[in-house]
């Protein structure tokens, strides 16, 4: 015996006005169908309802009751996440038309009516009977049973073959087949805006409506989004390019689009619209299948996740507003010149390595680290790096001089030095760091480093360019401030 579920989802007519996007009926139906695809591949859109053949999935999900519960949970979670207020009705039957008939009956008579026997379903719940309702009523056919009692050839002559076929399908004597719903490979949806929009952040309302549909599509395909493109179509009467577009990428493929929505909002806030916008298109550029998509969406374990965003989301959001160059992570380099020992690179580009630091893959890592420490590595405090300053100036500041001494916020007192640093060309021939940092054009460094103390008690790291061993060279020494001990 087969098992069908009919599902109907609608926006309540007397819904209170809310800040969240409101979808039209077709979009809601499409979203519900996408979610239903997570439970069975046999989903069809028929009239106002979503029909699902769950016969093959019953055993996997542990029976009809469990499956219905799961469907309700997923729908509720999806609607809740997107802030939608809807009414959901669902009915179940042995054939698709019985399920649909019960669903329609339920809309009129409440939950009790759905329990009616199949033979007692009223005539108008059968779509094929709708053109002939008046005649059927007058000849006394009010329920499906009444029509089945009439002679078949007479019914076929009077009402056409479609009605008989529909009845046969409802009774299960002919195959119950539909064109099954397939989700497209790429999501692409266009939205006509209610009014012309001249201010880029105001496009966000439209984008949010599209993102809800995208979310349902992702759930149906059981994949996560990693890049999308938003295109807006400008008023053609202006002398400007007809469209503008925005690409948003995220490092972790996500099904929950709240992070993506915030990223889009940050990017839109920086956009300037040359002309009013009348419509929007949202297209998914790259998606990745999520292995445990079912677990990630329907599971109660979701609640066990840590509160707050992940580091990747933080960096993406900061970079979106401040620019990549202002959010930076540290990378070591092998060089003995202080300015080339490290690089501060845009954090967005190196997030995989930063994430690897936060979530080590191998649990045995900690033990090996402790072992290597025990091997006789000096404790960090004893290393020679302790003599470097904690702050380094990216560009050394040239200091004024008083006599033979540098001056910075008052006279300075020399505490230690010189420490000589030399980087001649022949030493640097194969220096990887110099080449990658693009500093190879000034490879020579002949410096004497000193530690000076200011009048306020701070320690400065000051160097002088060694101009030559001659007395004239020593006299015109140039002093530079390169770092602060803190």
């Amino acid at each position: 015996m087969r098992c069908w579920i009919a599902l109907h989802i609608s926006t309540p007519t007397e819904a209170p006005p809310s800040a969240h996007p409101v979808l039209d009926a077709a979009a809601l139906q499409q979203a519900a169908a996408s979610l239903a695809l997570g439970l069975t591949p046999r989903v069809a859109l028929v009239d106002e309802a979503v029909l699902m053949d769950v016969t093959g999935s019953l055993r996997l999900f542990g029976g009809l009751a469990r499956l219905m519960q799961l469907l309700a949970q997923r729908l509720a979670a999806f609607l809740d996440e997107n802030g939608l207020q809807t009414e959901i009705r669902r009915a179940q039957g042995a054939t698709s038309l019985i399920a649909l008939g019960r669903l329609r009956q339920q809309a009129e008579g409440g939950a009790a009516a759905a329990k009616k026997r199949v033979a007692e379903l009223p005539m108008h719940t059968l779509t094929a009977a709708r053109p002939h309702l008046g005649v059927l009523e007058r000849i006394g056919c009010r329920t499906w049973d009444d029509l089945l009692r009439l002679p078949r050839d007479g019914v076929a002559r009077r009402f056409g073959a479609e009605l008989l076929q529909a009845l046969d399908r409802a009774r299960g004597s002919v195959p119950d087949d539909y064109e099954w719903l397939l989700l497209p490979e790429h999501f692409e949806e266009k939205l006509e805006l209610n009014a012309l929009v001249t201010h880029a952040p105001a496009l966000m309302a439209g984008v949010e409506r599209l993102l809800v549909q995208l979310h349902a599509w992702l759930l149906g395909r059981q994949s996560g989004l990693s890049a999308l493109k938003i295109t807006w179509h400008l008023d053609k009467r202006r002398d400007v390019p007809p469209t503008g577009e925005l690409e948003v990428r995220t490092a972790q493929p996500a099904q929950d689009l709240r992070h993506v929505a915030r990223l889009v909002a940050e990017h839109l806030a920086q956009q300037k619209l040359p002309a009013p916008v009348h419509s929007l298109t949202l297209r998914s550029l790259a998606t990745e299948p999520l292995a445990d998509a079912a677990a990630a969406t329907g599971s109660l374990l979701m609640e066990a996740r840590k509160q707050g965003d992940s580091a990747v989301e933080l960096v993406e959001r900061l970079s979106a507003r401040l620019g990549d160059a202002r959010v930076r992570a540290w990378q070591p380099c092998a060089d003995h010149r202080p300015e080339l020992m490290q690089r501060w690179v845009p954090a967005r580009g190196v997030m995989p390595s930063v994430s690897a630091q936060l979530h080590p893959v191998r649990p045995g890592r900690k033990r090996s680290k402790a072992a290597s420490n025990a091997d006789g590595c000096p404790p960090p405090e004893a290393r020679a790096e302790a003599l470097y300053p904690a702050w380094l100036l990216s560009e050394p500041i040239k200091l004024a001089t008083a006599g033979n001494n540098p001056v910075y916020q008052g006279p300075l007192r020399r505490l230690a030095g010189p420490q000589r640093l030399e980087a001649a060309e022949w030493l640097l021939a194969g220096s990887e760091a110099a080449r990658s940092a693009g500093l190879s054009e000034k490879p020579r460094a002949l410096r004497d480093y000193f530690i000076y103390r200011t009048r306020q008690g701070g320690l400065l790291w000051v160097y002088s360019e060694r101009l030559g061993a001659t007395p004239e060279g020593a006299r015109q020494r140039a002093w530079y401030l390169h770092g602060f001990f803190a």
């Binding site: 992940s310 306020q456 320690l459």
Partner: protein, 274 residues
């Protein structure tokens, strides 16, 4: 002398644990991270830097004393959890090798740069960092922050239970602040170069006198002492009675406002037991 016993007798034990008498050091329920300096731990409520509260550090000049004071606690935090430390609006670029020598893992550090005149976005970045689950501490240099801004940061730090330190200039001391812990940092201009720390607002009585902390790395201190010794010996060998370099400036008095009024304005008046 009024003994605290009557209240202790009246209240049941569990309630007693939540009572803070203004004459004592508070913060029994605060989760704190040891600062790495025993003398400082002893005067901080809870015995260390409190988590989930705004800690305000005032200093004459940004970037002069931070790492020595903060690095031991940050290193301890990093050893405990694999999470990020975020620097917001740091005055200069931190130098990795030197901080590595202070046991900090530089690969778990993010730096968000400030631009002149862009104070609002730094405040926003600080709040965002506090909301991130993968961050355990935020150090922010916010010279232009106002009291209302700090209040929002204090609420965010409390809600997400993060270590938040805000560095501000000395001129912010007379302003009212929502931070439960405020410190003033000043370097000593003598040979030891120790750091003078005054805890001028805390849950407890005012600090009798500022602490002196030796925050320089041991190796740097030893190096400076050796250099000093060598210079002295060279002078003796050359037979020069006066120092070759500039005269010491130790005698110059520091212009530090020691007025007790500001310290008292910011707190419940200290109860003098009599």
């Amino acid at each position: 002398m009024l003994s605290p016993t009557p209240a202790a007798r009246v209240l049941p034990d569990f309630a007693n644990a939540h009572v803070w008498r203004a004459g004592e050091l508070g913060g029994g329920s605060v989760q704190a991270i040891a600062t790495g300096y025993a003398a400082l731990d002893a005067v901080l409520p809870g015995g260390g830097w409190p988590r989930g509260a705004l800690i305000e550090l005032l200093q004459p000049q940004a970037g002069v004393h931070e790492w020595g004071l903060v690095a031991p606690a940050l290193a301890a935090l990093q050893a405990r959890a694999r999470e990020l430390t975020v620097l917001v609006g740091a005055p200069w670029l931190p130098f990795g090798p030197a901080l590595g020598a202070r046991s900090l893992d530089m690969r778990r550090l993010l730096s968000i740069e400030g631009r002149p005149g862009d104070a609002p976005s730094l405040l926003w970045a600080t709040r965002e960092a506090l909301q991130c689950a993968d961050v355990h501490s935020v150090l922010a240099w916010l010279p232009d922050a106002r009291s209302a801004h700090l209040r929002r940061l204090q609420i965010a730090a409390h809600a997400h239970h993060k270590l938040l330190m805000v560095f501000r200039p000395l001129r912010a001391q007379p302003e009212s602040s929502p931070a439960p812990l405020r410190l003033r940092l000043e370097g000593m201009a003598d040979e030891t170069g120790s750091l003078q720390v005054d805890v001028f607002k805390r849950r407890g009585p005012p600090l009798a006198e500022p602490l002196q902390l030796d925050t320089r790395p041991a190796r740097l201190a030893a190096f400076l002492a050796a250099s000093r010794e060598r210079a002295r010996r060279q002078r003796e060998e050359a037979g020069v009675p006066t120092p070759l370099l500039l005269p010491s400036l130790v005698s110059l008095p520091l212009a530090s406002p020691q007025s007790p009024i500001h310290a008292l304005l910011d707190r419940i008046a200290h109860l003098d037991p009599h």
